[in-house]
């Protein structure tokens, strides 16, 4: 395994948990899969389509997002929206994120001083 592969593996590991939270936060405004993929990318959250689509399906199965088919456009599209339960989880995860950020900041500063 090359150095690049190791680095890529760790970066992917680090990002993995954030994608679910990003989806829950972003889907407080309803949207469909491809638009979500684009807008997350534009917001600086790089996520692979092969990760995102199955993730949406899982979130729906867990009741964290709800969905509705919109037939008004060129092709039927499934619009997802964060549910009550999903909103509650997003707040818990956000708190965790802040805690982790603070902890890592502490470690980084201590390393620099």
């Amino acid at each position: 395994m090359g150095e690049d592969e190791i680095e890529a593996g760790h970066r992917q590991e680090l990002r993995r948990g954030t994608v679910g939270l990003a989806c829950l936060l972003r889907l407080r405004t309803p949207d469909y899969g491809y638009a979500l993929l684009e807008s997350l990318g534009a917001d600086g959250i790089d996520v692979d389509a092969n990760t995102l689509y199955p993730l949406l399906r899982r979130l729906e199965k867990q009741g964290l997002v709800t969905s509705e088919w919109s037939t008004g456009e060129a092709r039927p599209r499934k619009f997802y929206r964060t549910s009550h339960e999903g909103d509650r989880l997003a707040r818990v995860l956000t708190d965790d994120w802040h805690r982790l950020d603070a902890a890592l900041r502490g470690l980084i500063e201590r390393g620099e001083s």
Partner: protein
């Protein structure tokens, strides 16, 4: 009817493996994803057909994609049960295969099959048994893995940790004493044993061993036993196993086994008169010169003699390693 596009074929292939209740929904979702992805590529200036091909290639194997969507495992036995499966299968094979081989060879010998036939038959039987054992064990484990949802059915507890085995300090003395007891018992059996075997039909005593052979063999075996006795006493004085002692024990084992095996195979160990008076009708033929049962027994005796020094070899190697470590 229009010809199905590549996308239609992909949708069909992927939806096939999804449970019926979710199929329509899954199909629509996937159609949306593929359609949007192609549109994006076309908007970026690609040719529609090339874009379709590109998108489907990126999606990959439809069965794998469907499994990822449905959160289905893509392995037969997951990490929760793999180790248990491996241990059990190994254990089963290690126990069952030798037993089957032995039983089959013995059965064929008794029914008078030729060596070539026995050899071929044993290979076939062993392959069959291996395939069956592996298949059914794996099938049961795959079932357990599916039903349990990938969670281990057996919880691991610290009590399962193996006991750290340290050989007792006086291991050698224990070995020597138990072997001396064994030697004395064997000598007693050789001296008194044959006289205690009752006559098979109750009509007057008949010696079990061929008298002409036994006349020299019993003294020969007693001499080997005395040599064994000396061997163990020397080992006790030396204090630990070494490869020289392993070699000596191999020589002694061979010295005891070879004459027994040779007379067995040659049909001169067991008294034919004794055999003729048993209920076993073809006993003389089976146990006589070149008799199949006699051959099996002779081979077994040699095998035991060959295995005998292994314990000593292991101990000698350990002693050697300890010496190097020090």
């Amino acid at each position: 009817m229009t010809t199905p596009t590549l996308t239609d074929r992909y949708l069909f292939a992927a939806a096939r493996s999804v449970p019926e209740t979710q199929r329509t929904e899954f199909r629509s979702e996937l159609a949306e994803r593929i359609g949007d992805s192609i549109d994006a590529k076309v908007d970026a200036g690609a040719d529609r057909e090339a874009a379709e091909l590109d998108v489907l290639t990126e999606l990959g194997n439809p069965d794998a994609l469907a499994a990822a969507y449905a959160d289905r495992p893509l392995q037969l036995i997951g990490p929760a049960h793999y180790l248990l499966w491996k241990r059990l299968l190994r254990l089963l094979l290690a126990i069952v295969l030798p037993c089957v081989a032995f039983a089959y060879v013995l059965g064929q010998l008794i029914s008078g099959a030729g060596i070539g036939e026995i050899y071929g038959g044993t290979v076939v039987v062993l392959i069959n048994v291996t395939v069956h054992l592996a298949f059914w064990t794996t099938a049961v484990f795959a079932f357990i893995d599916r039903v349990s949802g990938g969670k281990s059915v057996l919880e691991w507890k610290p009590e399962e940790l193996p006991v750290v085995v340290e050989p007792p300090r006086n291991q050698l003395r224990l070995d020597v004493v138990s072997n001396l007891v064994l030697i004395v018992l064997t000598a007693l059996v050789i001296l008194v044993g044959p006289g205690l075997i009752p006559s098979p039909d109750g009509a007057g005593p008949v010696p079990f061993f061929e008298p002409a052979t036994w006349a020299w063999l019993q003294w020969y075996l007693l001499a080997v036993l005395v040599a064994q006795l000396v061997f163990w006493l020397l080992l006790l004085r030396h204090g630990r196993w070494s490869y020289r002692f392993v070699f000596a024990s191999l020589v002694l084992a061979a010295a005891a086994a070879l004459p027994i095996a040779a007379t067995l195979a040659g049909g001169t160990l067991v008294n034919p008169e004794f055999l003729a008076r048993t209920d076993w009708t073809d006993a003389v033929e089976q146990l006589g010169s070149q008799g199949p049962v006699a051959s099996v027994l002779a081979v077994s005796v040699v095998a035991v003699a060959a295995v005998w020094p292994i314990d000593g070899f292991v101990k000698a190697r350990r002693a050697r390693q300890e010496e190097i470590a020090r």
